[in-house]
Symmetry: D2
Subunit: 453 residues, 4 copies
């Protein structure tokens, strides 16, 4: 029986493709459950939008999720957990067990809205619960390390939003803890969701296939414009103590990870320039959720993070790169744009048109060559066999559905998920080198090689 | 009852905007429930991703949905019903009560996957159930009329997939029945989901605001390519008895409705040309779900529907139009493209880039004028206040979430939903005029004016 | 010696490639001169921007041009004749011998500006001159037939602007006369310059190579907006007696020719709708040059031509087509857009981005397929070996340079140029069928098969 | 002498706009000639394609041009000089008096092809001629200083290709000499032709009008791919002694000038990274013209210039910038792309689509805002009143026509042309800072403030 939604036997690391038979798992697993025997994917013609022979999801083992934080990312992760098992054929059924936040009324309302069974107001209580298998951390970066370390220590799987931490030291501890936890069968993943856009996952596949040849250039920008107005209030995202950094940690973390992911190699050094254009902003009087605030204002306060970070860099292979993250690019709303140029071909992607990937095949005769626009909506594109017919595109939130899907497969198989905490640490090291370079008059600053991990 | 394409005077009719105070309802309603007092949408600064003061969804009245058909459209509608109440603040909570299909195992599997509480194998049983408030019809067009008429007669609200029916006669009966049912407080809507792309809803708003001035041109294509391969099997979509017509009913229905919706006026006549390029195809041996089939083939059969339909036409105002629907436009996957040119401005939309709307303001000085790309992801764009920050786009399936949202609001308010069955009938009349013109050597053929409705 | 600017020995009919050795000419030629023996092109690496071994242009025979008409087209043709021999290595040197217009002062000023040696105020005088080899007709359509017939009768080569004539009867006489003149060694060409955009010429080459396979669809629009303002004056282009028709003859002629050229086959029938949106306009008081006028106005007059023409049609092979020509598409300035869909691939072109051709290769795996943007600026693209490095684009007027180049080669080789008057007649027949269909309620109207030619 | 990038107060400095009444000239002029009294441009309705009242070009004074160098740039400049007076109404008639090159046969052939009256084989002879008013230097950068200084000393006007020189020291001498020559009525201009694309000139006008507000970001790339093939031969452009630098001087010079021109302010410091990917290439055996070579190869030699240069920088106002110049961006042929983000709006331009300018007006309501594509072909766009109707685009070579036009106006008016040698020097200082930073581990390196000039 063809079961089109189920993933195939392809290499376990490829996004959109799950792990091999769980029986192949080589590490001890606590609570992980094998997928249905004989589970296969993608073979045979596509007969419909559900698996005709499926015995019913109720009998599957559950993966009980407890989420900390309930704002923008909390909403996005909720969509991911709720939808993943409806669209993909998963070995475990995600259960929205409990959501945690300090304001009891607000977290209750959020739980009702998004379908979380319970609530907590103290993340330590959440972690202490027996009926939680996985802790999903959606708080600002300053609390990531503490929560993640405690959750891993408590025997939970952990999904942690990016950036992994606000400092390299924290990130290093987290990566060590993740490695130790893995030996106990517990998994840790960092939420670089843009790896899970079908178009970027396809791009990674094409690079890995050698379609770009020797890499020469990576250029990537992440342009937004929501801070252009000098009267935009001083939310937590604009304070170093909560956010760690500004555009750098928020947007720069994404593009460093995505660039390294697509290139398949690390950034080894950078030269950086950072700037804060508007150095004082109105203090919000009421609730602040990061991207917006309610209520009036109460005086003005200093912006203590960067408005923009620009840096050039080198990859391990000798390819050169340029990066730019900003919240002041008027008219650009979410313009994460990346281009890779190799000796044999090039790729280009723009998050504002996330269903498309541009590819230039330089091995073709010049008379017929050119960047082609691949509409990444075909059944044999990553993640797409479970979705809609060609041309019927996906949106931003689907990256969280795919993230949940891939993590569930990893848990079931006892396999290290990607991006790992070590990947998150590597990004953190690059961000630290950026800050160091910016402080040292832009001098070229090597990224410290990971040693502990 | 006038011309269904013209927007109602009430602000409430705007897609993405909620209904007025339910107390304003002027027709009897059975089972409809007022939204929470004070419920408003989109006013005030945005404080987060859920309403802080909401008392909790569990106390809301329910809207219990029974769905007939469970293939492509069934999956899409499931996503819509499951998600609408999680994202939008709805006056009623949609409940996925039961799904109906002839193959008991398959429908059971689908119900498990998508979260439908129960199953039925006979739609008459579904309709007979007391615990169903709304029947959602996702079957091929040949069964729409029978099911919808029975469901309305049984006192259910009805959502019927497009095209409304396979013939004008059926559609007329359905429109009459819908009108009668409305007097009893029961609502009927047809599933032209492309009205609920935020970009098209914004386009409608801009036309209604007069930004285009006197309309001169509408040109619209719906281009797909999945039939180019002559070995693609003869599924139900290629047989007149099940599908009614080919590209015309499937794609042409969408573009006729969308053109009339955006223009705000009806097509009054057409001149058409239809063609079947591949007249014989392999018979599928196994299950056929419309866009694909499993199993082998068993000989060849005649394609009895059109592969393409092209027509020119006139709108009531004197604007001229061109339409093209095809499944043979190699490389075009879902290219529903529409452009409207008016004396004061123009709009253009492409479903393959559904988060964008192009607008040319002809009242600006020529030196600075040009088509602008509006990224339709701002909080004050239709439906967007409930979704993500600017630049974080939506996908195809969100149209079904919005459709569910709007229908729930209409039911709660006892207000006629749009597009109504009368709107569906108007589309059917245009399609019939197209077929008549094509049979009569393309002679210009007026669209019969609606009389009964 | 590599002489990169010189054309190669490729098939004579391909645009951008000149004829074979003139010695191969099989018809009598009067005044035609063989190109330099051993002329070859494009072999060897490109060494520079002039032929190192060229003996000097002064010794080449001349082609003395007399031009009738001196407005928009006159200026464009002047650029073509003046530049062609500077960029391309031509067998004959074009000489701007004389320009003719009724207003002696104005034509003198134009001659001085554009470098025409002499002037005439009566085209009969121009034709009577011994020192004119080729008559270039740039007047409105109502005088084409008379001038062209007289010029051919006087033993001149003729280049006639499009549309060939204002009626089929005139065009037929012209095609017959051209055929008779050819027997006397005199050539006639019609000025469909859009065949000579490198991108369209490349498109034709790709179609001829079979890259599209069986043709299914052609859709083409030519959208302008300069008549949207109802106060735009009633110039000659808006009067049937001078222009023959409106958007149809002006824009429609171009797209019918380009569609037939790219498809490589004729349109065999059409169903049409024509409309005049603004039926009365101010009469210009002063000089009118077609696209603009000076001076004030003197009352209002009736517009006697179409503002727009839309038609569907069939090609000889069974492919279907849609056409739209309009001067009311607000925001579209020169949007000649054509797309061809075949079983194996598709092409798309937009005159507003004339250095690009989009190509979809449907024989590639779906996972990597998509429309590619070919930047048509490579040395092995048509006409490009004589111009700039890759990526350095050409403009509108270059089509006239290429037209002059190709005609000079044809004259030197005594070879029939394309598009011929027979090609112009075929376009005229399609336009006549369009007008006939529009008058007959859009009924499908076959294009009369050429018989005399 | 201030900051050369800042626009002159005089309206006359706007590209595409002619000079004021020559009588307003305040400096001594030798040989400069007043334009015809009453000569104006662009005022009044457009009546045609030539000035009806023009007395005839033969009576105009001449500007006799002698050109040194005759390869790619020589061909482009020839087109410019030959065409400018045919299209624009110029106060002086450019005469292609003589072209100079070392190979007598080759330069003779080039002169014949492009219409130069005479030839020279020694540039000193050219400069010594009485019948030359202006020396146009199209040689590689290593000879610019010597020729320009000699020409100015000989009392000639000078147009010098970019980069102005290969070193800052040379450029400083040239700028001083230009200033001294100006006191004698002789003018000097540097050939940054991309200022004269209508779209960039429009962009400059919009920035000057304040449409961008406070500038925050400039990002600019110039991407080509002609060196990707490691077997591409070692032409003069790849050797430091002839070219000075690689991508930096060739492409980087263009983008630094264009960025400063559009921003209206200088770059004050940079942090740079340079790389040579392919360090050895085949030596060309025969003639080498920079972009190509003929003949075979003779061993391999070291590439002594950069393949790519990336740098970040700061503008005087505090805006930050990123620059990238490369010849290794596979699939990018001539992708000079620049974007400026200001507090009130943004501009974007791509040389591969040079008839377009994208503009985002951030003062509009977010619901209707977005980047608009201005098709820069309107009569009130810079330079466009002399060309074709809207939508009929120009090409690369037109920048040289416009350059010739503007220089002729400047000469006639005795007015300093832009970009001046001081502008060229400023670019040179930035390039030098880039090289210095790249050598010093990317440390931020201020651009030395012009002092001598």
């Amino acid at each position: 029986m063809g079961q089109p939604q189920q993933p195939d036997q392809a290499e376990a690391e490829e996004p959109g493709a799950p792990g091999p038979d769980a029986g192949a798992g080589t590490v001890p697993r606590a609570g992980a459950v094998a997928p249905p025997a004989g589970s296969t994917v993608g073979d045979g013609p596509r007969v419909g939008y559900w698996p005709a022979g499926l015995a019913g999801g109720t009998e599957k083992p559950q993966l009980r999720v407890g989420m900390v934080g309930y704002a923008f990312m909390g909403a996005a992760h909720s969509q991911g957990w709720r939808t993943a098992g409806r669209v993909f054929d998963l070995p475990l059924t995600p259960v929205l067990a409990a959501v945690c936040g300090r304001d009891a009324d607000a977290v209750r309302a959020m739980a009702d809205r998004h379908g979380w069974a319970g609530t907590e107001t103290d993340w330590r209580q959440l972690i202490a619960r027996d009926d939680i298998d996985l802790v999903d951390i959606c708080t600002p970066g300053d609390s990531h390390a503490e929560i993640a370390l405690a959750a891993l220590a408590a025997g939970k799987h952990v999904l942690c939003e990016k950036p992994l931490a606000n400092t390299v030291a924290e990130a290093e501890r987290m990566a060590v803890a993740a490695e130790e936890a893995y030996a106990q069968g517990r998994l840790a993943m960092v939420g670089f969701n843009y790896r899970r856009v079908p178009a970027t996952a396809l791009g990674r596949r094409m690079v890995a296939e050698g379609r770009l040849g020797a890499l020469r250039h990576v250029r990537v920008t992440y342009l937004q414009d929501w801070l252009v107005d000098p009267e935009f209030p001083l939310t937590w995202r604009l304070r170093k103590e909560s956010a760690g950094s500004g555009a750098l940690g928020d947007l720069g973390a994404h593009i460093v990870d995505l660039a390294q992911y697509l290139a398949g190699e690390p950034v080894v050094g950078v030269s950086a320039l950072m700037e804060t254009f508007v150095r004082e902003r109105p203090l919000p009087a009421g609730v602040s959720s990061g991207l917006a605030s309610s209520g009036g204002t109460a005086g003005r306060g200093a912006v203590t993070v960067d408005d923009t970070a620009l840096f050039t860099g080198r990859f391990a292979s000798g390819a050169v790169a340029s990066f730019e993250a900003t919240r002041f690019a008027t008219g650009r709303k979410n313009a994460l744009r990346i281009e890779l140029n190799g000796e044999r071909g090039s790729l280009a992607f723009d998050l504002e048109r996330l269903n498309e990937l541009a590819f230039h095949d330089h091995t073709e005769p010049a008379a017929h060559a050119g960047f082609r626009r691949i509409l990444v909506t075909e059944p044999d594109h990553p993640y797409l066999d479970a979705w809609w017919p060609p041309g019927h595109g996906l949106g931003y939130e689907h990256t969280f559905v795919h993230q949940a899907r891939d993590l569930v497969h990893a848990v079931a198989a006892g396999r290290r998920p990607e991006p790992s905490f070590a990947d998150g640490l590597q990004v953190q090291r690059v961000l630290a080198a950026v800050e160091e370079s910016a402080e040292k008059n832009s001098v070229y600053t090597p990224t410290h090689t990971p040693t502990a991990v």
